[in-house]
Symmetry: D2
Subunit: 340 residues, 4 copies
């Protein structure tokens, strides 16, 4: 039986290349086509030596595939996705272009008029822990952002249970690969090394996505979320610390049990008993979550962490693909974290 | 005229050695004695090659000095300080042993009975921006912790002005040197590199100090502070992001102006117009502060940063010494940050 | 059919824990027992969270296995290996205890009298690229050191072909994990970060191993090797630059072709066309080799790199095990490097 | 008495900005003008926050100064220098444009025809340890490259004494700031972090400078030098390991004494008794040198280290300026290294 053919649009960014790594090691699908404008015509292994075993040439246009991943920048991705959709190709879109339900959000946060509001309605938000059943039949999956994945997974159990007031602080620390492969002064090694900083305090583009999803869990009530992302000097990893007032007094153990129950059976969520380390998920598709209660103020504190390029991007995309194709959800994602 | 003689008890930790570096380059005092039990008898420059120009032997007991810095661990520092005090030596204590006003705090947070509650009353909390006038005549200065310095400076203007509700979240990111020079698995390079984590969620020892000082600014009302410290992979630097509800609606510019007014003339505080980078204070005694208002929730967000070993420890100790000795406050602390 | 049972003695060092990671993902053997004195009785996943999926308790003594890896420190490993040998268990010894052919080397370099010179004769040096045929039937394999693997693979083709004078300089740069998991001041993050240094200039213990193996390739003539290891601030990776005079004038392309021919078909050796990056082998079992000729002096320069914990230790041990068990050599070692 | 006015052409690269930091803290000269094309019109402190205390606007053209530093890229620097020279301004050129004595070298190594061979003859190579007497009256000083400074200082004593054969291997490890402030994929944080690599094996532009200076010390005999630079993941620092055959057998102590004698009284050279760490010179103008003899092969090994932006660039430029102006050589360069 021939394997499902899959392709990657824009393989040359960090998400694209991480997808290629994961798909090349995936036993149930075959990576048959990868595109990238600037590198078109080159062998994949010449641009990325760690992929030298993948015998593919980077193309200008995607070949015939059954399912495609778009790792294009936002706005550009939407048109790629629409074209694929017309051809009947199922798509996992890694960009932000189909994550928001309201077209107005794209004007407000991304400065463009969304070309296809009807596809927004069709797209399924690709967080399997919340939308597993819809993903099986999805024709278009909007793969969540890295920060939203860490934040929503950290808060979903208590939001859904109505246990916290909708006054939420999300403080996230990201490795530099989250800024992408395009060079800039801020990601120049001598600038980023031995430095920590906050950014986007006026509002990061991942914020509407977080509010939307938490709002759905609140059954439509939009929480007041303050989200501050930070860059810290490491390549991979996001550590998120979320704070919120508990609606009624709870002990840490009660909260911990609630989380364990909520995520029971989830292959990639691990509710842990002490604050997690990004190093413990390096290269894996895991998200570790540590919920606790501040003993003095009674506030909920949740620390979550994941590898921004795996569970925060390419790994989650593969997880979504597995669900779309009816494959075991963990196929190709079994790799343990590489430590130390 | 002979210079004031100063000494360092326990020169072999990171604070002690940083003090030695600063004092050796200080034109108005003379470093004449340094102690350290394990290294007693060795030349300072043999243990710390960057200090080879300082011609001192590490002693078991402190020689005759006019003013001493104690960089001993907490609990042990108290007895050193008491002995010095009896000899009439003025002291800057870098440990936590005289930071709390209430002796009960030491039992609760440090597991020992404080040996000298009367000295607690005598000690001045060494944050010059708040206590400059008392420091001139102080015989005992309790040098603040690194986290409290960044947190209190970030919040003092709005707390004093009564502009925020006493519901405060402080999320701090520290470089690894904050953990000291004593080796441990958590600070072993392969464990700490490419890792971010939160710790002490049950309550960090710097918390009572933060609450005490903010409470004094609130005129006795103790705020509900949640403080979560994090370790990020860099050697030096603390970046603190503080969150609090504004008591009444304010614009970012109003807040910014309030901060500029509050800190006007302060030699080591710079209220900045964009989120600061720890790299921009590396090796200097500066604290950069960026206050802003979250446009969607109206919450106050303040980002502050400093070098944990300078303004967060040894530099601030020198600043305190300058005030105690009637020297210009910036003497020996003029060095610009080393960038990149 | 039941799988071959394998065990790890001293799983708690970096080589041991990396072995556990690789063996847990190896489809053809079953990891059934792991030991570690200090952690005995604990779950493997409690000590190493990234291994939480491996359902094993760390034991004080190794259970019944068909093949064992000893990751004990040198000297202690020898007695473990001898005991296993008596029980008929095949062993891959990751320590240095069976790498040298001459017992005298242990007195000279390791300060102990080797307890079993006859086993030294029996042991096969576990560099598959040189000793593949002997490894299939080996009962005891001495897994090479990380530096020797990079150095010998870099030089074997020209030494065997008699193309260089035996005047060899080997300058190696290693990540800090090569120093092991035991904490020390030199590997304390604030000391090792932003630092580069050379060490062991009086003679590193990996030198006799390098000389022995190059000497065998020279058909007994011992080359004059200067080997200087360096520590650079990264967790994983060895980059080795080797220099030697060419016995007769050669062009870079000739040398490159010689290397390609020598390593043709080798699954884990890649002769590359430009200087390799340690990042391109991170987490994989590859060794990249770039041979060239200095155009001005005519000297041979060879740059090689590998992941010190994989091809430099645990991965090579698994490769040796595969050969011993008649499995495909790459089983369990197919993982691509994790980039970036 | 008014201070000597000095200026910096192209302040916006890492050498320029480091010069500004050092000159701003230099008590005997006044930094009055800085240029930079892309940033012209901006306040220096707006581009470089750590320099906010320097009240200068970046200009398009240099103002009136007594002495200028050119931190322009090579080729462009030559014309700047020639124009300054005509105006009677003394110049320290940090570019390579006046380092080579032979104009032909510029065609061969830098691909341009040198516009002023007569100035090449006039320029003094700015290595004070070798050319101190000529520097006092120099009108044009060619500030050495970072690699050549570390390499020449490591080898000068034995080359001048005729103690080594002219068969020299120089293996250097540099932090990433050596690649400058211009962004590139190779210096993008996620690419450079956790990576080590060699580059320029076909011949680095610093090689002719090294050969020229060692040749002059050999009294005209050009040594056969192989020089391989490497990038390692740190911001600052060069560690150089040099290897050469001793012309006659020597002990390590003899060599060490020779070095101590050669560098006796040098304010910035320290001959040390164990392999030095780049961390011990971070931010200082020191060069540490450790010469030894490989006990097995009798080869000389010398390890040297320095901060590439200080002794390797801006600090050495200030040292040269001090000599040109008749100031104490260490003025403005007294800062101890910042450790850890």
């Amino acid at each position: 039986m021939s394997k499902t053919k899959v392709g990657i649009i824009n393989v040359t960014g960090y998400t694209g290349v991480e997808l290629a790594r994961l798909l090349a090691q995936h036993g149930e699908v075959e990576l048959t086509s990868v595109t990238g404008r600037s590198a078109a015509g080159k062998k994949l292994g010449d641009v990325f030596p760690h992929l030298a075993d993948i015998n593919l040439v980077i193309e200008a246009e995607l070949g015939e595939v059954d399912l495609a991943f778009s790792a294009m920048p936002h706005r550009e991705s939407a048109s790629e996705v629409m074209a694929l959709f017309k051809r009947g190709v199922r798509v996992v879109d890694i960009s932000a272009d189909f994550r928001l339900k309201e077209a107005a959000g794209y004007r407000q946060w991304y400065n463009f008029t969304h070309p296809s509001p009807q596809l927004l309605a069709e797209a399924v938000y690709g967080l399997p822990e919340l939308y597993r059943s819809q993903l099986a039949s999805a024709r278009l999956v909007a793969n969540p952002g890295c920060y939203p994945t860490a934040a929503i997974l950290a808060l979903a159990p208590v939001v859904k249970a109505g246990l916290i007031e909708p006054e939420i602080i999300i403080d996230s620390k990201s490795g530099i690969s989250g800024a992408g492969r395009t060079v800039s002064l801020g990601t120049h090694y001598p600038e980023a090394n031995e430095d920590a900083t906050a950014y986007a305090l006026e509002g990061h583009r991942h914020l509407p996505e977080i509010i939307q999803e938490l709002g759905l869990l609140y059954q439509g009530r939009l929480p007041a979320v303050t989200f501050v992302p930070h860059l810290v000097p490491m390549t991979r990893g996001i550590l998120t610390t979320a704070y919120a007032p508990l609606a009624s007094s709870k002990k840490g153990e009660e909260i911990n049990k609630l989380y364990r129950d909520f995520y029971r059976g989830e292959p990639f969520i691990r509710v842990v008993a002490s604050p997690p380390h990004t190093k413990h998920v390096w290269g894996s598709n895991l998200c570790l979550i540590y919920p606790t209660v501040d003993p003095r103020t009674g506030r909920l504190i949740v620390v979550s962490c994941l590898d921004n390029l795996v569970k925060g991007a390419a790994g989650q995309a593969v997880q979504n693909m597995n669900l779309m194709l009816g494959l075991p959800e963990t196929t190709g994602l079994e790799a343990l974290a590489v430590y130390p």
